[in-house]
């Protein structure tokens, strides 16, 4: 929305471009700008999530970086993710999946919602296309 407002408010040359560099068709110009905005926005948040918020591999890397010359054993790495004998990563993801309505709780167990079934099937389909294992 901000893009739309700014596009409407500002001149096409943005006070820096000469007419030679301008796209004559304003529809194409605006769609092109919106595409750039979408791709950059998407990339920025992909990077933020992967590196700083939710990346499991980057989390391991950060721990090894913080350990410096002492390094970490396999058990020490595992201990970071253990909580009450269970797997903290899975437990935190299950909470998020329930909150996002991919899973629903039935007493102490969980079931897939239709939204969860859709995403699970889409993931399996894409994994087959890309010749990937179950992963995760």
């Amino acid at each position: 929305m901000l893009y739309g407002i700014l596009y409407w408010l500002t001149p096409a040359h943005l006070y820096i471009y000469s007419p030679l560099y301008l796209e004559p068709n304003t529809s194409i110009d605006s769609v092109n700008g919106f595409l750039w905005l979408t791709l950059l926005f998407h990339l920025f948040w992909d990077g933020m999530y992967m590196f700083f918020f939710a990346g499991f591999s980057t989390g391991l890397l950060a721990r090894l970086f913080d350990a410096k010359e002492q390094g970490l054993s396999r058990d020490e790495l595992l201990d970071y993710y253990k909580v009450q004998g269970g797997n903290m990563l899975i437990r935190s993801r299950m909470i998020n999946l329930e909150r996002g309505r991919y899973l629903c709780r039935v007493n102490s167990s969980y079931e897939l919602t239709p939204k969860g079934v859709f995403f699970a099937r889409a993931a399996l389909f894409l994994k087959k296309i890309f010749y990937l294992e179950l992963g995760g």
Partner: protein, 160 residues
Amino acid sequence: MLENVFLGIYFILGWMGLQVIVFHIFKVKNKFPIITLLYMLSFLGYIFFLPKKNIADINSIGLYLILFPTYLAFFYYVDRPVSLRILIEFLRAQGRPLVIEDIEHHYSLDAMVERRIKLMQKDRLIFEQNGRFFIDKKGEKLGWIVSRGRKFICSSFLTK
């Protein structure tokens, strides 16, 4: 300008299709080098076949370049996420309700960490010595960015 965009779409689709064919024919395990190599070939082809050599080419080439990291992000979001794997485990249970322990049994923490360790060792980000893991020279810069970034935005509470 639109000619450039359509040509770009053809080349991107060709690149994506070709890599899928290569993955299946050669049963490729390490996919990143194949993705990168085929992308570079497609990029060179795209530049070569650009119809007009004008200012719009800069925009088209920029879009073509930015599609590569976007595609990689998509690819790794299919391959790596823990959440997707959990959903798949539910699908494999064929409607049977599961408790957290069932998921942990099929998708163990050891396997999750082991896979990451192997991948980071293969990428020479970390190395193993006497049963302990250390950050490698290549991993130091990335480790610094990630460690400092996580501390800076105080995100460690979100996930370990």
